[in-house]
């Protein structure tokens, strides 16, 4: 099952490369089928998953016995929703009209990427995890490098080096943990007793990798550049899934392996998260490029994820963990959809500058309505998924400290300000210029893609209980583990 989630999209993607010379429509259809099959497979996995039963769907084979490296896969309540997010987002991207330039390679890159991302979430062996983690960069590098904007080379290299540099430290930490525990199993790492000194060093090594990925202030500057240069699909996957790798890393490695170090440094993590929320929220306000604005908004929203996770040592730990996880899933849907929306505009106008737009609602009413919905979700309106995570994290943070809640709650004002101000300038008003006058409203295919995302955002907002119940036992267990280990 889990191998299928990795290899089905990868093989399908490689197979697509053979279709380079076939009609583009056929290639696009084949890509959709591949993404759809993977999504169906992940749904089957979800249906068969029992939240209370811990790690499931285990597959385990020796891979490199000399170093005790194993091909070991399993999922728990943290991994399942992230996999669903991955397969769903890839499906949305596959449904987009592919670029005319080498469509087969484009779809192939996304399918391979999907397989590798799934690999990150299902790997239970540190080396397997690391291989997927690094290999993931290659298709993304290709996507930005081939179909990106004018400064794509700078952005792609910056993206690659930034994340690669972070990962190197993670590799050192993994090797050290192997040296201590004699195994590459993540489970063994979590059970390995470590001194506070060791934990702190390992925590910092992990932090460098995960903080870059999620990204946290001040190692976030690669993200706006990467988004601006990435093609629509690349931005969607980057925002919807790849940022979540950092959050996943905190839950899977930092918290359970180095709980004492986390307890020691949680003040730092909370401070950095609050900087992301308030400071980056303000920076988002003055962006003139829509993609940069949403990229900064992503950093601010991911601040809630890290804030929620590192409230783990305060009275409302579970509230924070749940809130952070829900925020990850929700942000996947919302930011993915927002990047899709910007893509819709970009394919028509070839501009992402807010100043080039105005009065789009006059020519694209259906699009304007959907974008309004996502904008409100981004501003955390109750009834959408964007509210749930932020709400829980604010509730949790108050129980830690009044001022944490105070700063976190500024997102209500800032989030609404930057999102709706952009909306006003782009969508409302008189038709600004002839290019806007010539715009065509979204076609049925685009409506379907955005509609699917809207349904997900709405469903999660109205009834988050199923998601919470899915994750609850795993998070409870994680919390108990962290509690037990927090004194070193």
């Amino acid at each position: 099952m889990l191998s299928g989630l990795i290899w089905l999209p990868i093989c399908w993607g490689i197979g697509l490369l053979l279709l380079e010379r076939v009609r583009p429509a056929l290639v696009a259809a084949a890509g959709v089928v591949g993404a759809l099959l993977t999504f169906a497979l992940s749904l089957l996995m979800y249906i068969g998953f029992d939240p209370a039963a811990g790690m499931q769907y285990t597959e385990q084979y020796a891979w490199i016995p000399a170093f005790a490296i194993r091909y070991h896969l399993a999922v728990d309540g943290i991994a399942v929703p992230l996999i669903l997010l991955t397969t769903f987002s890839t499906l949305l991207v596959a449904l987009l009209v592919p670029p005319t330039d080498r469509p087969a390679l484009h779809l192939a890159a996304f399918l391979v990427l999907e397989g590798l991302m799934n690999g990150v979430f299902v790997a239970r062996d540190a080396i397997l995890f690391y291989v997927c983690w690094e290999a993931m960069l290659i298709p993304m590098f290709v996507i930005i490098g081939v179909w990106g904007g004018p400064r794509r080379v700078y952005a792609a290299i910056k993206f690659f080096l930034y994340t690669f540099l972070g990962s190197v430290f993670m590799l050192i930490a993994l090797l050290y943990l192997y040296h201590r525990s004699g195994s590459f199993a993540i489970e063994a790492f979590q059970l390995q007793p470590l001194s506070l000194h060791e934990q702190t060093l390992i925590f910092i090594a992990f932090l460098l990798a995960f903080a870059v990925k999620i990204p946290m202030w001040p190692v976030h500057t690669w993200l706006p550049d990467a988004h601006v240069e990435a093609p629509t699909g690349g931005s969607v996957i980057l925002a919807a899934v790849m940022l979540k790798m950092g959050g996943y890393g905190f839950l899977r490695f930092s918290l359970p392996i180095t709980p004492a170090a986390c307890a020691l440094l949680d003040g730092l993590m909370i401070t950095l998260s609050l900087v992301a929320i308030a400071y980056i929220g303000m920076v988002a306000l003055v962006q003139q490029d829509m993609k940069k604005l949403i990229a900064y908004s992503s950093v601010a929203h991911m601040g809630f994820v890290t804030l929620g996770f590192f409230l783990c040592f305060t009275p409302a730990a579970m509230l924070g963990l749940q809130g952070g996880m829900i925020q990850m899933i929700s942000h996947g849907f919302i930011s993915g959809a927002l990047f899709l929306c910007i893509g819709v505009l970009y394919t028509r106008m070839h501009s992402r500058q807010i100043a080039d737009y105005g009065g789009v609602v006059n020519t694209m009413p259906r699009f304007a309505a959907l974008l309004m919905f996502f904008a409100m979700a981004n501003a955390g309106l109750p009834g959408t998924s964007g509210f749930v995570g932020e709400f829980l994290v604010i509730l949790a943070s108050f129980q830690a400290n009044f001022w944490i809640a105070f700063i976190a709650a500024t997102t209500l004002i800032l989030g609404a300000a930057y999102t709706l101000w952009m909306y006003k300038r782009v969508i409302f008003g008189e038709i600004a210029n002839d290019q806007v006058r010539a715009l065509q409203d979204i076609d049925s295919r685009e409506t379907l893609v955005l509609g699917l995302a809207a349904v997900a955002v709405l469903a999660l907002g109205i009834w988050p209980a199923p998601l919470v119940e899915l994750m609850d036992p795993t998070l409870e267990q994680l919390w108990a583990h962290v509690q037990a280990g927090k004194h070193g």
Partner: protein
Amino acid sequence: MNPALMACLAAVLLPLLGALIAGLGGVGRSTAHRVTIACTGISTLLSLLLYKRIILEQGASLNEVAYTWLGGEWLTLEIGFLVDPLSVTMMVVVSLVSWLIHIYTIGYMRDDPGYQRFFSYISLFTFAMLMLVTANNFLQLFFGWEAVGLVSYLLIGFWFKRESAIAANLKAFLVNRVGDFGFIIGIAAVLAFFGSLDYDTVFQRSDELRGAVLVILGQDISMATLICGCLFVGAMGKSAQVPLHVWLPDSMEGPTPISALIHAATMVTAGIFMVARMSPLYELSEVVLNLILIIGAVTALSMGILGIVQHDIKRVIAYSTLSQLGYMTAALGASAYAAAMFHLVTHAFFKALLFLGAGSVIIALHHKQDLRNMGGLYRYMPLTWIAMLAGSLSLIGFPGTAGFYSKEAIIEAMHYSRLPGAGFAAFALTLGVFFTGLYTFRLLFLAFHGRERTRVDEREQLRESPRVVTIPLLVLMVPSLVIGLPLVELMLYGGYFRESITVLPQHAVLATMRADFHGVWSYAAHALLTWPFWLAMAGVAVAAYCYLLRPQLPGRIATAAGPWYRLLLCKYGFDAFYLGPLAGGVRRVAHRLWQDVDSTLIDRWMVNGTAHSMYLLSAVVRRLQTGRLYHYAFMMILGLLLLGLLQG
């Protein structure tokens, strides 16, 4: 499922259904209004049925959970409904006014291309508002709270081509978000203290708040004060209290039916309702009650004065709404929650009436709203004139009208309150009555009486509005005039709200006032001997003198008053301050953060700087890699020697 819950669910959800059909169903114009009017109509009937059961038959309140929103061992949040005397009163007001406004809209929006969209929005609003008032927990309250804010945003910007409309809706949303910022912290504080967001649990354990403190910046802050204060910040946003009032006058950019429904009768009173709902908590913090009292009094007086200098017919009424909301707020501060709710109900009717009347004038004048270009309209629109007159009398509190009973009760409550701000509040509210009389009849005289200032060609087309417009006006006239008679004794002194409002004995001003109440007519007769009545009459007289007898006088006064007049024209400078130093300042700081910190410090110096130094370093390293074998051999020998030295 019990029938009361089903009735409540249907009442709440039917308008949502209507909104979905009208908005997403791709239906025609007449289908859109038929469906939404039918849905809201049934919703009104069901609300009345619930009202009959709970108020008239003294039936038990309904408090049921619909579903679990999310839950775990650590916290359970549920969606549920509470229908008690307080919420059922709101349900009736909301659904009834909404239903009448749906009908009115057929006439008002007849030629608008966004007809279906408009019906969809107002039905959606009705749903959100009903969710807000029937919530049995803070989560759902917040959902309704934000959802009405969303629809308000959409409706203020309904005519999205107008720059002024889309500036106003953004402003409304953001100012409300400032309020919600406080509100959400208040909710977080409730959860932190009580471990639940369920009203029942929280209110039953509210006594535990006594003496509880939270240390903030080394200060012991009473938990009750913190919770109530934060929640009240939310109410200040939604119910437009100074200094978060700035969005309401601008909200008049929206079509008139929604000014009546959202920005007068229902949504803006959500803050009043919320504080009344939270009375078990508010009773425990005299600090906050006093603050509420003072803010309410300041709003009532200062905003009433601004009504005198406005020329836009809708803006005059908007400032009147601000002022009346101030009265309600002050009543809450004096723990006269029932009086606040009573004024909320009467105000909903007479203010909706005034707005719809103004809308009728606006239709007749083809969307011209400047009072300076009106005059003498009563000849052409007698029904509208009568309706406006009735609404005006109620607004100024003419004895016997609905507005009289509710306003009189509030002013009287000020005299019995023992809070430190009560003296000031009593003064401000009493003086406010003079200005109410003045601006109300100024509007009436300028629009309907005096010299005709309409253009001659316009006069030929002037006629009374169609029946879909006038019938809602006539229907609203009835409660505006007479609803005080049956309700005053019941609501203020008759235990109407039962357990849904809590008042501590030391704050029970209404109970004290009860002794002086000897029936509705003697109460009205007694008013002839009190200050408010004569002040209101003085206001009317001044209005008559200035705008009927000596129309040149106001202009001369304005010139003579110079700076004072300009202070009123710029609305005390709130807007200028928010837009300039505040919003502009935030943007400047944000720009500096982005350019100086993000782009220069982090990106250029740290990130690219690292890359650049790597490049330089690699140039050095490259020189080492000369490709000549003897260099490498030499280095290896050197290294071995060094190692040997270190070992030794």
